[in-house]
């Protein structure tokens, strides 16, 4: 990753920002710094406050508490038209009575730029989003993807310090959405403007972002790279929100010298690794992604290392993988995803088969029981 959010001066900073609607809190104490040139995604279920953060940055809402700094300058009370921030709205909000060209030129006209400068910059940005041939059309004569491009062009032509995108792909069909994701990511790299993107789609967030902030109920629950979020969830909410995950109940029995622990997991003794601190006797959760689990038919298992025994309930063919639903002898139900093995094409999993289940040591995530 190129950006180093810690050392580079932040382009936007939210300090202790809270937002209340009456007595309901939409945001609690948000602290967020975004580095210049970064692509940051706010990811979370609807109503988690991600759009509220966007509207606070764009100036359509003002915080109940805390302050916002844009490029080091306090903009907490600045009107939207006074902020060097532009937005790509969820429904694009293109001006229906203006041509593509006039839509894109609008911001520059508001800045009272010269005619020649407007002309140059509008043509350049339309070329960049491949819309120059359709400059004379009205928005309603464009497809969803084309409207999307115009909305982006209309925002970036102003060279904002920050571009905000509010679920911009929600109106597009699956295939077009994938293409636009890639296109926007390329565009962001080319122009180097900081993007703050809002989505509830985890795949979209991971595919596009340098960093992802996972939100729930008005709080940022974890912020980090896609890989960190997926592989090192800091709490059960994040673990459950991104992808599938198995949660096992365990109790720490002792701490070993090398930072590892011994624990009783689902009735069996295991060695676990974690960066977190636990004490003997503490109840913990052990988190394992389905694709990290290795399933052996019982008769093929070497019976060395640490493993569980269980029984297959269901095997679901998914094309590249097969999803296996199984029940451990302790009664816990788990999900595993196995890739087809080229060398062993005959392998087949059937309901009722006895299996042994293990995982690569150290890939487990151990959380304390409190962190919901």
């Amino acid at each position: 990753m190129l950006d180093t959010p810690v050392s580079a001066p932040p382009i936007i900073e939210l300090r202790g920002v809270a937002k209340y609607y009456g007595s309901t809190a939409a945001l609690h104490n948000i602290n967020l710094s975004i580095a210049n040139g970064e692509f940051l995604t706010l990811l979370g279920p609807s109503g988690c406050g991600k759009t509220t953060i966007l509207r606070l940055i764009s100036g359509f809402e003002s915080p109940s508490r805390g302050e916002l700094l844009l490029n080091g300058e306090d903009i907490t009370d600045a009107a939207p038209e006074r902020r060097q921030v532009n937005t790509v709205f969820q429904n694009y909000a293109l001006f229906p009575h203006m041509s593509v060209w006039d839509n894109v030129a609008f911001g520059l006209k508001m800045q009272r730029r010269s005619r020649a400068e407007i002309s140059d910059r509008v043509s350049e940005v339309l070329r960049r989003v491949h819309m120059e041939a359709l400059a004379d059309r009205k928005p309603r004569q464009l497809s969803g993807g084309q409207q999307q491009r115009v909305a982006i062009a209309r925002a970036i032509v102003n060279n904002p310090l920050l571009l905000l995108l509010d679920e911009p792909f929600s109106a597009l069909d699956f295939k077009l959405r994938k293409q636009m994701q890639l296109e926007i990511k390329h565009l962001q790299r080319q122009i180097g403007i900081t993007f703050v993107f809002v989505t509830h789609d985890q795949e979209e967030a991971f595919a596009m972002s340098d960093r992802v902030a996972v939100m729930n109920e008005g709080e940022i629950r974890q912020i980090g790279s896609s890989q960190e979020i997926y592989e090192e969830p800091e709490n059960l909410f994040v673990a459950h929100f991104v992808g599938e995950i198995n949660v096992l109940e365990a109790t720490i029995t002792s701490r070993l010298d090398d930072g590892a622990y011994t624990a009783n997991v689902e009735g069996k003794d295991f060695k676990l690794r974690s960066k977190r601190e636990f004490e003997a006797g503490e109840d913990v959760k052990v988190l394992l992604r389905p694709e990290d689990l290795i399933v052996y038919l019982e008769n093929e298992h070497p019976f060395t290392g640490q493993f569980f025994l269980g029984r297959i309930d269901e095997a679901i063919y998914k094309g590249a993988t097969v999803d296996i639903l199984l029940t451990l002898d302790s009664g816990r139900k788990l999900q595993a995803a196995e890739f087809f093995n080229e060398d062993d094409v005959d392998i087949s999993y059937s309901p009722g088969d006895r299996v042994a289940l293990s995982w690569v040591e150290g890939w487990e995530v151990v959380l304390d029981s409190e962190g919901e």
């Binding site: 532009n86 909000a93 491949h130 004379d136 925002a155 102003n158 890639l182 296109e183």
Partner: protein, 314 residues
């Protein structure tokens, strides 16, 4: 009439359309044509008109009497419309932006006066603006004036009457077009650096233009034609277009001249309807023009869109 696709519904549809056409033909088109015909016939000594073609009626309209009437009427109608627009726009704007549960009640307040006959409401105005009316009493009680103001039987009284009677016709179409306006567009304008005044000028005003034109038409034309308001509030002193036409038919028994004046009024209506159509088309934007103007065959914009990203990656 184009052939309709088969099925049981098409017979009903054909019937429905025929009835509509018949209705429009019999009660709108035919009388208008009759009026137009009478307007080019000569005036008879005993009959209302005699079957001799002439443009004399229109020539008579060009005379100083009618032109004076027309000028007074248009001036009064213009100012009534202007005041209705200036008062009606903020009014309609606030109803349209009120909380959804309040809107029907606010609209009801606009509509309630319709439940009373407008003739009676015009008489009721006398109670307010008459020499012993509420306005004069109030001003005298406050000591602002010593003698009652003469409001009744002036152009101003007619102007007040027209404005009062026709204001709802301005508010309702304005409300409809402002309510439809997507507030996201105003957010977008502000996001792009427009202050609220410029956002109003560049976005709200052009997008509610059809409502403005419709409202102005619905106020301007009736205020030219209504004859009872000038007659009740303005007395007999100043003749306006509506009164002129009424008098030709009912008092002077000069049907052809009345018909000619009426035809001129109808022509004005058609011109303004054309203007309205033009303004709403400008806002809507014509599909056809854009598709011909753009590149490609224009048949499948989605496919075009799907192809573009590949080009972007090359």
């Amino acid at each position: 009439m184009p052939r309709l696709p088969g099925g049981g519904g098409s017979a009903f549809r054909a019937f429905g359309i025929s009835v509509t056409w018949f209705w429009l033909g019999a009660f709108a088109l035919l009388p208008s044509l009759a009026l137009l015909l009478v307007s080019v016939l000569d005036r008879g000594e005993l009959d209302f008109f005699i079957p001799a073609l002439t443009l004399g009626n229109y020539r008579e309209l060009l005379g100083p009497v009618f032109l004076r009437v027309l000028w007074d009427s248009v001036r009064l109608a213009f100012f009534s419309t202007l005041v209705c627009l200036l008062a009606g726009y903020p009014f309609a704007y606030h109803i349209a932006r009120a909380r959804p549960k309040w809107r029907p009640w606010l609209l009801l307040l606009v509509i309630i006066p319709f439940w009373t006959n407008s003739l009676i409401r015009t008489y009721a105005l006398i109670l307010i603006i008459g020499a012993q009316g509420m306005v004069n009493r109030l001003l005298m009680a406050l000591g602002l004036i010593d003698a009652p103001l003469v409001i009744m039987y002036t152009d101003f009284a007619v102007f007040v009457g027209l404005t009062y009677t026709l204001l709802p016709f301005m508010v309702l179409p304005l409300y409809a077009s402002i309510e439809k306006l997507d507030t996201n567009l105003l957010d977008a304008a502000r996001d792009l650096g427009a202050g609220s005044l410029r956002a109003f000028w560049h976005i709200t005003l052009p997008l509610t233009l059809p409502g403005i034109v419709a409202g102005c038409m619905l106020v301007f034309l009736p205020s030219l034609g209504i004859f009872y308001v000038p007659e009740i509030l303005g007395g007999a002193k100043n003749m306006l277009l509506g009164t002129f036409i009424k008098n030709q038919f009912l008092v002077a028994n000069n049907w052809p001249l009345g018909a000619a004046a009426s035809a001129v009024l109808t022509l004005a209506l058609i011109l303004m309807a054309g203007l309205y159509r033009l303004s709403s088309l400008r806002v809507a934007g014509r599909e056809k023009k854009g598709l011909l103007g753009g590149n490609g065959d224009g048949k499948n914009p989605r496919r075009e869109a799907a192809n573009l990203p590949e080009a972007a990656l090359r």
